[in-house]
């Protein structure tokens, strides 16, 4: 008996894989970046289907911004961003195919070997999930999150400082 939840899970998983494949099958940089975004949104959808609401919404929010930024950088650095000039996105085909097959087999094997434990029956409501996530961040994982947060803040300040110096020189 396949429930709607499982069906959605399968469909979204396939959507994620399909868009992941589209990333390399197009020559337009913006199409490529937005395909990756669509793949990531499908993964956000997977979180939502699995009732991890906060993670799903966060994934969808972050990926929208990140992939748009990636789009502009890909467009700036590629010599043929629109893909109008017969450019091929794929390189070292034999090596990549071998690598992809080996890694897929490893990951597929790992998912079968690992003992995932019992399936969660009582899923806490969204409000409770948010609270538990907050407690997790402030207890066991505090060091990791503080380090990451501090690094990002430093990066932001550094970026603003770098942007300032050009202006000062002009004055």
């Amino acid at each position: 008996m396949i429930s709607i939840q499982l069906l959605l899970l399968i469909v979204l998983g396939l959507v994620a894989i399909w868009f992941g494949w589209r990333v390399f099958m197009t020559s337009s940089m913006v199409r490529s970046a937005l395909s990756l975004m669509a793949s990531m949104i499908a993964i956000g959808g997977l979180f939502l289907v699995m009732e991890a609401e906060f993670l799903g919404v966060l994934q969808i929010m972050m990926m929208g911004t990140e992939m748009s930024i990636m789009a502009i950088f890909m467009m700036m650095y590629m010599m043929d961003p629109g893909g109008l000039g017969e450019m091929d996105m794929s390189h070292q085909k034999n090596l990549s195919i071998t690598g992809a097959v080996i890694i897929s087999l490893l990951i597929g094997g790992a998912t079968l070997i690992i003992d995932w434990g019992p399936i969660a029956v009582n899923i806490p409501g969204p409000h409770e999930q948010n609270r538990l996530l907050g407690l997790e961040i402030l207890e066991r994982s505090m060091m990791i999150f503080e380090t990451a947060g501090f690094t990002i803040l430093t990066g932001m300040i550094a970026a603003i400082a770098v942007a300032l110096s050009v202006k000062n020189k002009r004055n």
Binding site: S28, V30, R31, L34, M37, E53, F54, V57, L58, I60, M61, G64, T65, M67, S68, I69, A71, I72, G82, L84, G125, P126, H127, Q129, N130, M156, I160, A163, L164
Partner: protein, 297 residues
């Protein structure tokens, strides 16, 4: 049921009112028939497709634009218990959905294979990334006060004092960011008429342009509802029923957006980003610190 229909009618009227105000912000006169005229004109306008346009994005961008805004509307409460989808992460979802306004503008700007459109699209990217950062930071402060990301809980937390008075810095930042996200004047850089001849929308005509224009009007109204819910007490108010209060406050906020836009000149792109990254984000962080302090006291 009846209340639902009533609210829908209210908001359709609201969109009409916003359209009239948009016209007023450009011409200075209230032309009550102008939205109908624009609608009819765009319906019969010839649909021009630019040479070598990106067909997928060209067709998808206007539809996605309006879809994203409808998603945002679906999670906002329009009265006590009158919310379509009561998300446990409602406050975060507002920003998550609005990020895709930027993606749609980017798609639209890129798809037309034209210089004005593309510059408009990249401008929209820079502007909306900058301002969605502030939005998420000031949202954090409202969530801190309510101790919940449910939007109805955020309204209930303002029972004693509205957030507009409790965290005025947050309100000002959210208000300005909302204007920037809806690219209203003076932040209308992606579609600047006098610089880019319409920017992102320059090459869209007919029904596609109509979808963009309608989507923008709905976006302005949606952001006004968000301002009301987060900072102006939502349905809280004496005598009248809650949904009437939300509607009246929303119209007031939407009108104030246009009033600001009419009398302030368009801001320069580098100033826009500079003010935001150098003053907006530090102020938003300070706001979190301040609200945290107030909550502990």
């Amino acid at each position: 049921m009846i209340i639902g229909i009533l609210i829908t009618l209210f908001f359709l009227a609201g969109i009409y009112f916003v359209a009239v105000l948009e016209r007023w912000s450009l011409s200075g006169t209230m032309q009550w028939s102008s939205p109908v005229r624009s609608l009819l004109r765009l319906f019969i306008q010839e649909e021009i497709k630019p040479r070598k346009h990106d067909s997928i994005f060209f067709e998808a961008a206007p539809v996605f634009f309006i879809a994203v805004i409808l998603l945002t509307i679906s999670i906002l409460p329009f009265g006590e218990g009158l919310v379509l989808i009561d998300l446990g992460t409602g406050a975060l979802f507002i920003n998550a959905a609005l990020v895709y306004v930027m993606v749609c503008l980017l798609m639209a700007g890129w798809s037309v294979n034209g210089v004005y459109g593309m510059i408009g699209g990249w401008r929209a990217l820079a502007q909306l990334i900058a301002y969605s950062m502030t939005v998420v930071m000031v949202l954090t402060a409202t969530v801190m006060r309510a101790e919940s990301m449910f939007l109805p809980d955020i309204i209930e937390s303002q029972q004693s004092l509205w957030n507009i008075l409790y965290q005025p810095i947050g309100f000002i930042l959210f208000y300005l960011s909302a204007m920037a996200i809806a690219f209203l004047p003076p932040f209308d850089l992606p579609t600047a008429e006098s610089e880019l001849a319409g920017g992102v929308w320059a090459d869209f005509t007919g029904i596609r342009k109509l979808l963009f224009r309608l989507g923008r009007l709905a976006l302005i109204l949606t952001l006004s509802v968000a301002v009301v819910v987060l900072y102006m007490g939502g349905w809280l108010g004496p005598w009248l029923p809650g949904y009437v209060w939300i509607f009246l406050k929303t119209l007031l906020v939407a009108a104030s957006f246009f009033a600001v836009g009419r009398f302030v000149p368009r801001i320069r792109q580098d100033h826009l980003l500079e003010y935001h990254w150098k003053f907006g984000i530090p102020l938003a962080l300070f706001n979190i610190f301040l609200v945290g302090g107030l909550l502990i006291i």
